[in-house]
């Protein structure tokens, strides 16, 4: 549990962090360190240089404007879980963050680090995909944004380029008539999600006008389920169960605790329950 030799640099600004990234080949950014340091201790990651961005206030904070919420990449899970802004405009993100690890992990871990690390059992990715959030990145050549659905590419692989820093995520606020829920089936050892189901439904005049379901933990990246069959229904339990049973994963992940088949099964059950919870909140 002792990392290999590395140099430590602390960046004073995003600009400095970007230039340190350019100067040091194979360097790693460190936010909360709660995924990076364990990888380094197991020597699965051996970056020659670690660039600490943990104190960059410019990347912290939660705000709402013009119908969307913006969360800085260095905002901790604890701050997200306790955010009044999110409670009012996007409670499902706060709900998911509250499920992460334990208090210590939530106090240190950040949303940027969480999605840049892209563990398939992470709680945040399915919620961002469900919300249709955008991930914002900055490099020496400028800024760009990418849809959350395209951001997660494979197991521990994302769209973050070598010279880029993730600055913030933006998600549309949940409108009136929309309910959303995140339900987690926790791994008894790691505490990560074996399955994490994020669901939303919008109801107008007793009828569903929109619904979404994204399941994490089943595949390398969040799996969106086509639940459009719910639109126009009154969201009966049967309709919800039928919609959730559409979860399909080509190559589900499995471990000694839960096989791929079982994860898909649980994904369907938790998808159903998350949709029902979302309905009850709409």
């Amino acid at each position: 549990m002792y990392p290999a030799q590395f140099d430590y640099r602390r960046a004073g600004s995003v600009t400095e962090a970007l230039s340190l990234l350019q100067e040091n080949e194979d360097a790693k950014l460190m936010a909360g360190g709660h995924s990076l340091i364990p990888m380094m201790k197991l020597r699965l990651a051996q970056p020659p240089v670690v660039i600490d961005i943990g104190r960059l206030d410019e990347l912290k904070g939660i705000s709402e404007a013009g119908g969307s919420v913006r969360v800085g990449s260095l905002t901790t899970h604890a701050d997200i879980a306790a955010s009044d802004v999110l409670a009012a405009h996007c409670p499902v993100l706060a709900e998911a963050a509250g499920h992460i690890g334990d208090a210590q992990v939530r106090n240190r871990g950040t949303i940027g680090g969480n999605i840049a690390h892209a563990d398939p059992g992470s709680d945040i990715p399915p919620v961002l995909v469900l919300l249709g959030a955008s991930v914002h990145l900055q490099s020496p050549s400028g800024t760009r944004s990418v849809a959350a659905g395209d951001f997660f590419q494979d197991l521990l692989m994302t769209d973050v380029g070598e010279d880029e820093i993730l600055t913030h995520v933006e998600a549309p606020a949940l409108g009136a008539g929309t309910g959303a829920a995140y339900l987690k089936f926790e791994h008894p050892a790691s505490g990560y999600a074996v399955v994490g189901a994020a669901a939303s439904v919008t109801v107008q005049n007793g009828r569903c006008t929109g619904a979404g379901l994204v399941v994490g933990g089943v595949s390398a990246t969040p799996t969106a389920v086509d639940v459009s069959s719910l639109v126009g229904t009154d969201l009966s339990d049967d309709a919800i169960a039928a919609a959730a049973s559409g979860l399909d994963a080509e190559d589900p992940i499995g471990d000694i605790f839960a096989s791929g088949d079982y994860r898909v099964h649980v994904g369907k059950v938790y998808g159903k329950r998350a949709l029902a919870a979302a309905r009850d909140r709409a």
């Binding site: 549990m1 197991l42 791994h187 050892a189 000694i256 605790f257 839960a258 059950v269 938790y270």
Partner: protein, 781 residues
């Protein structure tokens, strides 16, 4: 003075520990200290063709790289011995450092010593070992199959021993004429102890004196010194001092003598410098002796009235790659002997095969043999309740050893000294609201995915390891007494030197209560010293729930001797006859003359100022005792677990857990409850989550805490505890022991509850751990 025995005074250990001032082995620093990293086999079974240490040696800061060759060159015995023998036990050598063959992932092949632990680790990665991988067998049943890869040439068929207890013929006869029989094939899952503090050692050899001081994570420093000097390092025992500073949990894993501690000792001797090693969590999981790992076929015969007539048990018990210190004793003396449970069983036969596998050695882990035995008996009792139609409560009651039958001689060597099983069951039923629960269960049977189940475990254990008269009769060539040296200072405060060294149990608190109570002084006036071979005469250590019953009794014995000695001194001072003196509330009084009395303080002072003593009276006021118990102690109780099973996903929610335990007299109720809580967490952990899993090639796939689930506080529920009190009749304190009860009783209670919940699905058994997927598959098959 108010009695302190039986009161929940706060643990005196805690202020230092919770303010971070406790000093654990890894906190210690020595002048000139170097750091060791051990190179371990990545293969479960391989031949070592060669080891190239040059790249490691070339790294700046590296002081030495040692292999088996250096062990041989040092001219030391260089082995890790097994401490407990059985008849016809195969004892293949366990070299400190593997010379030509590695036998489990984690087997030590070399050690690097460097100026700091980072360099040591870097260098360890540069030791190039040329392995020729060989076929391996990790599974205890597979290892017994024809043609299985052999772990040791000396042990054909991978059999380490073949042991039995009880008689086969009467059991066969009982089955032949039984009205009901139930049988079960079960696995008792392999567990990793997971003490929070990893094993660590700081060995400091000084060539100028030839002395070695070893600070290490030990539950029994004297035993470690004996094995370390005798079998590993070959040093004279009087030149070796072993100190166990604060020890952060052990659960058995720090009883055993391991290669690593001996290797670090050798490094210190070679370099003439202090050398420290602390296991990483990964190393801990690969090298701390594991627990359990049985495959068992068992069956119970009952007559038409539901009375048990016979019990048959056949177990294959994994030993792992080498025989660890206690290993052969665990599935035999501490397992087969417990098969009578709380029941009057006229015929029992238990056969155990000890099996070598290419895995981490298996040894004592909280409960050691007794959880496995309880699991067998209590799972069968659950099935018997169904088969006879009597249900789980009545079938147990009907077979309890009756309270007037004690001492009760079982068919498996042990004679239970005392017991009264009915009241514990009654109380448990009352606490849980049994009839209402059955009503709720019935109302849910036909509707809803969530079923509830109620499971029982009426357990017995044998604690207070180990009366030489009893274990001697079973072939053990040792007894496990304990020693205590109690010294009363001239000012009447007291220091106790005990061989029971604590690793978190609170010995300092409870032992001070014992002394304070017996001497009629305040517990604050008593200091308890343990865990240092230079300070303490000798000790067997802390395991097997023995500290209060054996270590505490040794202390009581010494205190009694001190009172006798004090009477002589007081008689001299009061010009009375010692026979006429009584000791009460801290003073010596002449019977019948209340004004002729001397306080302990006066007597203690005069014991040291002694100047005009008669020839037959020695100065000083201290006493040393060695206490060999007359019998084991037999705690018992009934635990009831209530679960809710979500049949749609297979997840299990604990709803209630009630435990009624009889641990004899209680010294400190808070500490007793704490021990029960910890044991329950581990037992429930075994039932629901914990599992050391090897793949077919012998890789430990649950080697990290990301995969191996230890129970966390949010996984558990508040436990409902109560007690009955049946004092142990044969020790001076009437205490029995509580360290393991929770871990012994609870696995069966949990599994019985889940099986009870799932009985509408025709499920009568699921192997532990009851993971949601297993439950879901059982429901859907």
């Amino acid at each position: 003075m108010a009695r302190v025995l039986g009161t929940s005074i706060k643990r005196r250990e805690d202020p230092a520990l919770i303010t971070g001032r406790g000093k654990y082995t890894d906190d210690l620093k020595a002048e000139g200290m170097a750091h060791a990293a051990i190179v371990r086999s990545p293969y479960a079974h391989a031949r070592i063709r060669g080891i190239d240490t040059s790249a490691a040696e070339a790294l700046p800061g590296v002081l030495a790289v040692l292999t088996a060759r250096d062990v041989a060159a040092a001219g030391i015995p260089g082995v890790v011995p097994v401490g407990w023998l059985l008849p016809d036990l195969k004892t293949p050598a366990h070299p400190m450092i593997a010379a030509d063959t590695v036998r489990h992932v984690g087997d030590a092949v070399a050690v690097v010593v460097a100026e700091d632990r980072y360099i040591a680790r870097d260098a360890a990665d540069r030791v190039a070992v040329d392995y020729e991988p060989l076929d391996a067998v990790a599974d205890v049943v597979a290892a017994l199959e024809d043609g299985a890869p052999a772990v040791h040439e000396e042990a054909p068929g991978n059999v380490a021993f073949d042991w039995e207890i009880g008689e086969r013929e009467p059991v066969d006869a009982a089955f032949a004429s039984a009205a009901h029989t139930v049988e079960l094939d079960l696995r008792n899952n392999r567990l990793i102890p997971h003490a929070i503090e990893p094993r660590a050692v700081l060995a400091s050899y000084d060539s100028s004196t030839g002395e070695m001081t070893i600070h290490m994570t030990s539950q029994n420093p004297h035993v470690h010194r004996l094995l370390m000097t005798l079998a590993s390092l070959g040093m004279p025992e009087h030149k070796v001092r072993i100190v166990a500073p604060e020890v952060g949990g052990g659960f058995g894993s720090k009883i055993h003598h391991y290669a690593d501690e001996a290797i670090v000792g050798l490094c210190s001797m070679k370099l003439d410098r202090p050398v420290k090693w602390t296991a990483t969590r990964t190393e801990t999981n690969l090298t701390d002796a594991h627990g359990r790992d049985h495959s068992t076929r068992c069956a119970l015969a009952l007559d038409a009235d539901g009375r048990i007539t016979g019990l048959r048990v056949d177990t294959a018990a994994a030993m792992g790659a080498y025989l660890s210190t206690f290993a052969p004793a665990v599935p035999t003396y501490l397992y087969g002997t417990l098969m009578s449970g709380q029941y009057d069983i006229p015929a029992i036969h238990c056969h155990v095969t000890g099996v070598f596998t290419h895995t981490t050695p298996v040894d004592a882990y909280r409960g050691a043999g007794r959880p496995e035995a309880t699991y067998v008996v209590e799972r069968l009792m659950h099935l018997a309740g169904d088969a006879t139609g009597l249900g789980p409560v009545e079938v147990r009651r009907r077979n309890f050893v009756s309270p007037d039958a004690f001492p009760y001689q079982t068919q498996v060597a042990l004679a239970y000294d005392s017991g009264n099983y009915g009241p514990a069951m009654d109380r448990a039923l009352e606490m849980i609201g049994y009839d209402d629960l059955r009503g709720e269960q019935a109302s849910r049977r036909d509707n809803g995915a969530k079923q509830i189940g109620i499971g029982f475990s009426s357990y017995i254990e044998a604690c207070g390891l180990a009366p030489s008269a009893v274990v001697g009769s079973l072939g053990a060539q040792a007894g496990q007494w304990e020693s205590a040296d109690v010294r009363v200072h001239p000012t009447a405060s007291v220091t106790v030197y005990t061989g029971s060294s604590s690793h978190g149990q609170g010995h300092e608190t409870t032992f001070s209560q014992i002394v304070a109570d017996r001497l009629g002084i305040e517990p604050e006036a008593v200091e308890v010293i343990h865990g240092d071979t230079d300070l303490v005469q000798f000790g067997m250590g802390t395991y097997g729930s023995r500290s209060a019953a054996v270590g505490g009794s040794a202390i009581a014995k010494s205190v009694d001797k001190i009172i006798e000695k004090g009477k002589k001194i007081a008689a001299h001072l009061l010009e009375a006859s010692a026979e006429d003196l009584e000791y009460e509330d801290g003073s010596f009084r002449v019977a019948g003359s209340p004004d002729r009395a001397l306080g302990l303080g006066d007597v203690a002072l005069q014991a040291y100022l002694a100047h005009n003593y008669p020839d037959d009276l020695e100065p000083g006021l201290s006493a040393t005792s060695f206490y060999d118990p007359a019998n084991f102690t037999y705690p018992f109780g009934t635990h009831v677990c209530v679960v809710e099973v979500d049949t749609e996903t297979g997840t299990i929610e604990l709803l209630r857990y009630a435990a009624v335990d009889d641990v004899g007299n209680v010294i400190n109720p808070m500490i007793v409850d704490g021990q029960l809580h910890g044991g329950l967490a581990q037992g429930i952990g075994q039932a629901l989550w914990e599992n050391a899993v090897y793949d077919e090639s012998g890789q430990l796939v649950s080697g990290s805490l990301m995969d191996y689930a230890v129970p966390k506080i949010h996984n558990l529920i508040p436990f409902e505890l109560d007690r009955t009190t049946t004092p142990c009749p044969h020790n001076p304190l009437g205490v029995k022991g509580v360290g393991e009860a929770g871990a012994i009783a609870s696995p069966a209670a949990v599994v019985n509850a889940v099986v009870d919940a799932l009985s509408p699905f025709g499920i009568d058994h699921i192997d532990m751990p009851l993971t949601p997927e297993k439950v879901w598959r059982a429901v859907n098959s």
